[in-house]
């Protein structure tokens, strides 16, 4: 007897990426009109790696990730496109399917652990209930597992502290609890939404290292959402830069931070001072303010703030929406030629 195995691969699946987002659209209807929070976004996450999604407020980075877990209110949010995760299409998946994935195969870590943890339940219960729900274990086993996880994330005296409430912990310890809760079912993907923004810098360093360590041990993939390119540089393998609901640049950390190609990425990099940069050179901020997503500018959404659109030629930037290119590897959504990009970037870096 010959066994023929067919591997169903979704249209969006490529290579060994096990999360693939294709042409994602998320829009919310509000009293003022339709907000296009995410507009045609595609990206992939490879197994065991970290993808850093960088952008400012309103760039759509958090909205994207809530969409992966189907956490948007379906009455107000309209979601289009495809999200493939381990051979499953998540856009339009049933509630039961999503509930089985959440906390089990895909877990989330939120920005502010004080508000993200329930004030009414002990941390042991909050961690344990995820394990019980997805693994069907007894209360006893779930509690033991919670203690094990707390020890793993470096909570001292975990056997006692498992019965404490979130408000008994300091900010850094609370975020460790959140991480323990996210990892309790050994998920394949963890989405961390600004996990260190509410923390102090020394604690941030501890938490980022902890995430990296746990990733090495458990082989988890991570999507790290942040506004801080420094955080990305320290933790991510690949980077996606978002602006006003669209991806403007994509590549490895080395590519995007070392030889950035999009004017917005340049702006982000040159507007933050560094410990090693010259203090006599003024910062180079991005002009103006981010656009309203109710009425985003036509063409390239960054063009009203861009200093280089004259180099492209008349009107192209304000009429045609650029797509990420090339399709694989280090890509950017800008009409400047590669040579122009390299020259401008070299110029920008002089004197820094």
């Amino acid at each position: 007897m010959t066994a023929v195995t067919f591997t169903e691969t979704g249209p969006g699946r490529r290579g060994d990426s096990f999360l693939s987002v294709q042409d994602l659209h998320v829009s919310f209807s509000t009293e003022d009109g339709v907000v296009k929070a995410v507009d045609g976004l595609s990206f992939e996450v490879e197994k065991g790696t970290t993808l850093g999604i960088v952008g400012e407020s309103g760039s759509g980075k958090s909205v994207t990730n809530l969409a992966i877990l189907g956490l948007h209110n379906s009455e107000h949010a309209e979601i289009g496109g495809e999200i493939w995760f381990e051979d499953q299409e998540l856009v339009g998946a049933s509630r039961g399917t999503l509930e089985r994935l959440r906390g089990n195969r895909i877990a989330m870590i939120f920005q502010d652990p004080l508000t993200a943890l329930s004030p009414f339940h002990t941390i042991g219960r909050q961690i344990g209930e995820v394990y019980r729900k997805h693994k069907g274990t007894s209360k006893r086993e779930a509690r033991d597992r919670a203690i094990e996880m707390l020890e793993r994330v470096g909570i001292p005296n975990a056997k006692v502290r498992v019965d404490d409430y979130p408000h008994h912990f300091s900010g850094g310890m609370r975020q460790r609890v959140m991480i323990a809760m996210a990892l309790v079912c050994d998920p394949a993907l963890v989405i961390a939404d600004e996990p260190t923004t509410a923390l102090d810098v020394t604690v941030q360093a501890q938490i980022l290292d902890l995430l990296k360590d746990l990733q090495d041990q458990m082989g988890t993939s991570i999507i790290l959402i942040t506004h801080d390119l420094g955080v990305v540089a320290q933790t991510a393998h690949n980077v996606l830069v978002m602006y006003a609901g669209r991806a403007v640049e994509r590549g490895t950390v080395r590519e995007v931070l070392g030889t950035p190609r999009h004017p917005y990425t340049w702006g982000l990099l040159s507007s933050v001072p560094r410990l090693g940069s010259s203090v006599d050179v003024p910062l180079k901020p991005v002009r103006g303010t981010p656009p309203s997503l109710l009425n985003p500018p036509p063409g390239c959404r960054f063009h009203p703030r861009c200093d280089y659109r004259n180099l492209v030629g008349p009107d192209l930037c304000s009429t045609e929406q650029p797509e990420l290119s090339p399709e694989r590897g280090h890509g950017d959504a800008c009409y400047l030629t590669l040579q122009q990009k390299q020259e401008i970037h070299t110029q920008l870096m002089e004197g820094r």
Binding site: D200, H227, A233, R254, S271, R274, L275, P282
Partner: protein, 342 residues
């Protein structure tokens, strides 16, 4: 030369109350504990530290929004910490504050014009050409459209609101501005606009700044001298170069090593990972306050609080409060204290 602002042994305790039947004081939050600091005329001094270190309280004490528990705030040699309202009157306009949150620090029911001209009216200042003309000038100075005189704060973005706050601080021609985390609520691309604006104003108008922030790179960029605070005390202070390139206090080392840099380094930097969080300022550790998280701590650190002094090899004015200081370099051996990372 007499410094513009001098803090001497400045201390602020906030009472903690509790008790049975009758409320009584059961302890103190040692927010600021014996801080000495000088700000020269036209000088920019940065104040860095993590949450709970007392940097914001210190700023408010210097602006005399709080009264100190002990210690003095000298402005041009005059003690303003105990001065009466009348004595303060001529000094108030010279010290202004810029706050962190551009949303809650502007009255939503007032127009931009009213917000900015408010301080002038309160202090009875009548600029030539009237308030409105001055406000329009100020709006232009901070990079806003003077035509927006009659608009309300909610019509502006966060960065623009922070500019309004800056214009309000400038209205009285201050000599000293205390900026408490002026850019930390803003988006990255907007932060740089505001920092550049503050720097221009500093240069053009010769205003001295006490610049309070948690972001070490921002403080470095803005400040000529930098003070590092930990749990209510200044642990190290000095010129920018000394603090960032030749730090001596272990905490300064730890802070610098924790800053995530937006570059992909081929050679990894010194990695210092402390254990746990900052202890509570209600019961701060005895002796050196950093000792509970310090890898060099010995018995002496618990018994004796290290004085803030100039160590051998430090530059003039570079003071460190440590019994067992580190070598003056930022590239040392890794120190990992966090048990989860070991």
């Amino acid at each position: 030369m007499q410094p513009l602002l001098e803090l001497k042994g400045l201390t602020k305790y906030f009472p903690v109350t509790g008790g049975f039947i009758f409320k009584r004081q059961v302890g103190n939050v040692h927010a600021v504990d014996g801080v000495d600091l000088k700000v020269g005329e036209g000088e920019t001094v940065g104040l860095v530290g993590e949450s709970g270190c007392g940097k914001s309280t210190l700023g408010r004490l210097a602006a005399r929004l709080y009264e100190p528990t002990f210690g003095k705030v000298l402005y041009r040699g005059q003690d303003i910490s105990t001065a009466s309202r009348r004595e303060l009157k001529p000094i108030r306009p010279e010290i202004q504050m810029i706050f962190q949150d551009p949303y809650s620090s502007l009255n939503p029911r007032q127009t931009v014009g009213a917000i900015i001209s408010g301080p002038m009216e309160i202090n009875g200042i009548n600029p030539p050409g009237g308030h409105e003309k001055r406000v329009r000038e100020l709006l232009e100075t901070v990079g806003l459209n003077p035509e927006h005189y009659n608009r309300f704060p909610h019509e502006f973005s966060g960065g623009q609101r922070q500019r309004i706050g800056i214009a309000r601080a400038l209205a009285l021609n201050p000599k000293l501005i205390i900026a408490d985390e002026p850019v930390s609520a803003l988006d990255v691309s907007i932060q740089a606009q505001v920092i550049n604006l503050l720097q221009e104003l500093q240069r053009d108008l010769g205003i001295a700044f006490l610049f309070i922030a948690h972001d070490l790179a921002v403080v470095r960029h803005f400040s000529q001298r930098v003070a590092v605070m930990y749990l209510g005390k200044v642990v190290e202070v000095g010129d920018r170069e000394s603090i960032y390139l030749r730090p001596r206090h272990p905490y300064t080392h730890a802070l610098l090593s924790a800053v995530p840099e937006a570059t992909v380094e081929d050679e990894p930097r010194q990695r210092i990972r402390l254990a746990g969080d900052v202890p509570s300022p209600i019961n701060p550790p005895t002796g050196c306050r950093f000792r509970t998280r310090c890898w060099k701590a010995q018995e002496r650190c618990a018994e004796e609080a290290p004085p803030l002094i100039q160590l051998a090899g430090n530059r003039e004015g570079h003071l460190t409060a440590c019994h067992f200081p580190e070598a003056p370099t930022t590239s040392g051996e890794d120190v990992v204290l966090d048990p989860a990372l070991a």
